[in-house]
Amino acid sequence: MVNAPLHIITLVKWVPDAQLERRYNAEGRIDRSEGVLSELDEYPLEAALQIKEAAPDREIRVSALTMGPAGASTAVKKALQIGADDAYQLTDDDLIGADIWATSVALKAAVETVTGAAEFDSGEPEYLVLTGMASEEGESGALPAQLAERLGAHVVTYATALDLESERLVVIRSGGTESQRVAVTMPAVVSVTDQVNDPRYPNFKAIMAAKKKPLTRFTLADIGLRREHVEPKVRVLTTAARPPRTAGEIITDEGDAGVKIVEFLAKERLL
């Protein structure tokens, strides 16, 4: 039996660079004027490419999908350079301030639009959505489960290893107190951690090739949604920056630093 084609959609997010200062704006939203492709989203992309490369006889396409402001095109473009076959960007002013609930509504429609439009030569494709373990700035890790619930897909989160078999994906994951080997059938949403692989860097050839790859942009209306479908359920009331930590007393060991630390701890009543 010939294996059904597989459409892997990797979700990639354009996020404020964690190496720089990140802040909230006056509207109580994270400032997204500058950004980078989330590091955590390089792992699902790499995982998708490895799955594709390991199955040369199977028709597998890797699409990158992002939702974000106009600047988010740098995230999908980088995904194309790293190796995605095509890319999709959902941008709409009505998505500004989206919470997890609204984001999963929009991404569900976007995933269905992407899978609906794709044509495969070797039959009806199955689809697999791969995501990072969490978004770098939201850190909730709740999107994969919400998206799966909406798509009616199976979900497995925090994968540390993936192996595609003919009709299922075998995943190693750690829940809370145990490590599990889990088999999941398509359609599925799987989130992967930074333990799953070592993401590749795009080389010059890949960067040049990426310029010819298709990038499709759509708005909410293009995926059949209106503003009232994506109104957030949660509202941020206040944001307060914590005073940044400052350096305290730094000493150079002169043979008594161990004692000095204990004295410091005693003084601070930490013993």
């Binding site: 609930w101 850190e139 619930e149 829940g175 145990e178 080997r181 999941v184 007393e249 630093a257 601070e268």
Partner: protein, 321 residues
């Protein structure tokens, strides 16, 4: 008084500190009802806590990632009429509650620190650099309960002990929920080794080591035991296999917020800082005076950890006499 539903994805022979804390958070809001997904034997004696009225169980234990857990939660919400659902922000609980929020068409706030009587949630954002408050848009006229997942270690453990006291056995309500068939199958389960030391995320003191340990964690283990501390590590140390991955502190590891964090042989990369910079006091030992970790240390020693740590241990023992 309003009803609060608490979700435990698994329940062992005793409540964990994080579970007690959740009960404490819930009890401040109203009458507590608890839905338990995975359990052995009869879980009710463990839940004989003042303020806990009722326990919802599936017909058979449902270990995560079993999707029927979401059915259990949905039914429990209907049975309890809860105005808010609380759970932990660990992977399995977060997944189930995230799906519940979709089913109920309601808002989810994950990784919270606390919740007020009027259901305003406080949480730490952007790796601890901000504190935000948020609530349901429909807070004035909520049609559905708010769903909130919590990080542990937000209430002082002594205070938790005064809030969560032994009580009568709660009423048990077995709901008609059974495991699902197909889709996601668990083929193998391996219990992770449980360290005898305090759990990292809940420990009041954490001793963490990085590449600078050169692979020998023995001195750090001894120091941790002297201080009753949990043992953590940087990703460089866990990636090298010097210590289990569960010990990784940072953005993609465990987030800790102990009273005291002792960092030894760790450079203090932004990924590491994301998991520990809200600690009360940070002590850093690093032989490089330019190490980033010194920017956030309350007390720093430029020196060799192989000399400083043994001396600390010796001094601590001397003081104990």
């Amino acid at each position: 008084m309003s009803n609060v539903l608490v979700f435990f994805d698994e329940l062992g022979e005793a409540l964990t500190p994080a579970q007690k804390e959740l009960i404490a958070q819930a009890a401040a809001l109203g009458e507590v009802r608890i839905a338990v997904a995975a359990y052995d034997g009869d879980p009710t004696p463990v839940l004989a806590v003042n303020g806990v009225q009722e326990v919802y169980l599936p017909e058979v234990s449902l270990p995560a990632p079993e999707v029927a857990i979401v059915d259990l939660l949905e039914t429990s919400v209907a049975e309890s009429g809860a105005v808010v659902v609380l759970g932990s922000s660990t992977a399995d609980a977060n997944d189930a509650l995230a799906r519940l929020a979709v089913r109920l068409d309601t808002g989810l706030i994950s990784g919270a620190a606390s919740i007020s009587a009027d259901l305003v949630v406080t949480k730490s954002e952007l790796a601890g650099s901000y504190t935000t408050t948020s609530q349901l848009v429909s807070a004035a006229t909520p049609a559905q309960p708010l769903v909130v997942t919590f990080k542990p270690n937000n209430i002082d453990p002594q205070r938790v002990d005064t809030l969560v006291t032994d009580g009568e056995q709660p009423e048990v309500n077995v709901l008609p929920v059974r495991p699902s068939v197909g889709g996601v199958e668990i083929e193998e389960r391996t219990a992770m080794e449980v360290s005898a030391r305090p759990a990292l995320a809940e420990a009041r003191v954490v001793v963490a080591g990085g590449r600078g340990t050169d692979g020998d964690f023995t001195p750090l283990e001894e120091l941790a035991d002297e201080l009753g501390a949990g043992l953590g590590a940087s990703r460089a140390a866990t990636d090298a296999g010097w210590i289990e991955h569960a010990a990784q502190v940072g953005q993609t590891g465990v987030t800790v917020s102990p009273q005291l964090y002792i960092s030894a042989g760790i450079s203090g990369a932004v990924h590491q800082r994301a998991g520990m910079q809200t600690a009360g006091t940070i002590v850093a030992i690093n032989k490089d005076e330019d190490a980033q970790v010194f920017e956030i240390a309350d007390f720093g020693v430029v020196g060799d950890l192989h000399e400083v740590i043994p001396q600390m241990i010796e001094e601590l023992r001397r003081r104990k006499g």
